[in-house]
């Protein structure tokens, strides 16, 4: 077990190292610590990618346990739709300022989350997984429809560019964004880590979990809010990055098993590694062009997932 953790930690360091050394601009190893590009672009971008990837993976693991559905990912519950509506709305209304887009996306994601949460209360049993999933999809579709309506009635150019931003990327990474995220992320992250034991019990079903002493209602509410807040923050700094939150928890379950006490920290490191590697590939593979990082996470993640799926099926 210790060996696995060591391997994962080594992988994380290697990914971060690679992200700092590689880039479209040529920086020699000797200049690595004095280069403006490395200090102000690559290092904050690598660290931001790590925190975002880790947050998405932990949020995904938490939500998969909460709704007891392996298909759950951080964006299933309408957050991407809400964030998109926020960002597009900000551009259509000509809201200026360097932080307008991320803040509007964050607000949109939170509004979607609140709406889904409110709808989830309707079913009687609070946060019934089926009601939650359905209302998530419904709110996402509604936000998507409103977004498309705004796009078709408004400035074509800027909005198309807003969509590019929304499909994910860490271009906006800086020490400022990293600092904001590092102040914000630990709280929901710790809430999720603290819920590891009740999440294990929840996997048995709500009734059994209750008999075994878990405060099911509160755990579900805490996990839902924490995962959503993590995801909303990730959207604000990097747009919608798919596959990390869906796949990393499954990959980690294959190695670390189903205990959330191990699964959640492993997911954080694994998600960080995947996103940092994907972002490095996005920056370097077709330089001087840059790919949206969400495309690369899918290109790397899906084959990896297919290989592991085959291995699990045969063993």
């Amino acid at each position: 077990m210790a060996l696995r953790w060591l391997a994962l930690a080594g992988l994380a360091l290697a990914a971060l190292g690679l992200a700092v050394v590689l880039g479209p601009a040529h920086v020699s190893l000797a200049d690595l610590w004095t280069s403006e590009i490395v200090r102000n672009l690559r290092v904050p971008r690598a660290l931001l990618g790590f925190v975002v990837g880790g947050s998405l993976a932990v949020a995904g693991a938490g939500l998969q346990a909460l709704v007891r559905n392996p298909l759950a990912d951080p964006f299933l519950l309408g957050l991407s739709g809400g964030a998109g509506l926020g960002a597009v709305g900000a551009i259509a209304l000509h809201v200026g300022g360097p932080w307008a887009l991320p803040l509007a996306a964050f607000a949109g994601a939170l509004a979607a989350m609140a709406l889904v949460f409110r709808l989830g209360l309707v079913g009687g049993a609070e946060l019934d997984p089926r009601v939650l999933l359905l209302s998530g999809v419904a709110v996402g579709a509604f936000a998507g429809a409103v977004t498309t309506a705004i796009v078709s009635l408004s400035e074509a150019a800027q909005l198309r560019n807003a969509f590019l931003w929304l499909w994910g990327g860490l271009s906006g990474a800086s020490w400022d964004t990293l600092l904001v995220l590092c102040i914000y992320v630990p709280v929901p992250l710790l809430v999720l880590f603290a819920a590891a034991r009740p999440l294990d019990l929840l996997a048995l079903g709500e009734e059994p979990a209750r008999y075994l002493g878990a405060d099911v209602t509160h755990v579900k509410r805490r996990v839902y809010l924490a995962a959503s807040l993590l995801t909303a923050a990730a959207v604000a700094v990097s747009g919608v990055i798919g596959f990390v939150g869906l796949m990393v928890p499954h990959l980690c379950r294959g190695v670390w098993g189903h205990q959330h006490r191990l699964l959640l920290p492993a997911s954080f490191l694994g998600g960080g590694v995947l996103l940092v590697l994907a972002d490095t590939a996005a920056r370097v593979a077709v330089a001087p062009h840059e790919l949206p990082v969400g495309i690369v996470t899918a290109l790397i993640g899906v084959p990896l997932f297919a290989v592991l799926l085959r291995r699990w099926a045969t063993t």
Partner: protein, 309 residues
Amino acid sequence: MRRWAHRTHLAGRLLAAVALLGGCGRAADRRAPRPAGTVTVTDDAGRVVSLAGPARRVVSLAPSSTELLFALGAGAQVVGRTTWCKYPAAARAVPVVGDGLSPNIEAVAATRPDLVVLYRSPLNETAAAQFARIGIAAVLVKQDRLEDIARAARLLGTLTGHGAAADSVAERMGAALRATETTPGRAVRLAFLVWDNPPMVIGAGSYLDQLAALAGGVNVFHDLPAASATVSLETIATRDPDVIAFLEDSATSSAPAYATRREWQTVRAVRERHFLALPADLFGRPSPRAAEAVAELRRLLQRGSGKWR
């Protein structure tokens, strides 16, 4: 690069709709050249367009073709335009029939045009086929680069009965493109920034790259063959442009919002606030005023070259 010029507001649309209702009766008595036999051309999508005589009622669904029609002296024949066709000022008096990208066939047909001018795109080819089904001739015009303008002028000139004017526009364009005035000193190195997050720049495929070269500047992303491309911030920092140019609707000289973001400070031109706002009206699309645009850009580059390096 028409997208920069695209701006539409709901209120404007309502006003335009009212103007459209009022404009229908008035447009009939507009002067137009007498029919002079059948006119046949092959458009930029390879379709044969045939008219019984020069078109007398033209709907133009692209800002670039609207400007070109007015430049050819065919402005009085234009009976419909898009919300984005705002140049020349006289074009604003023409009723709006939509926003151009996916034309509202019925709104266009209601103006009873005998010719619809469309920007060449797959979506518009479908629209052209729709117009053909209801007996309205449509012409697809490609106007992406400076060398397209002369051909587009001849195409529209022939169809509207302004062939002579088209020839003179084409000649002027040819002369403007051939003119190779040398600028003293080192050429200003510029980057055209379309969008900041993710950073999108103009490559060699765009006419803006052509304008820069003709004005004695160097687009630092000339090696990218596409019209525009997403690049990473560190590539912009490494290419180290002297100035960052961008299109703006109102000719303000304010710095863009991203100028104060920390990650952008790695780019020298941003750090030193070397920005060049180009009026979208003149620079936003390839137009018969390209020579004027080149001269203006040359003037701006020469004025700035001292303080930008």
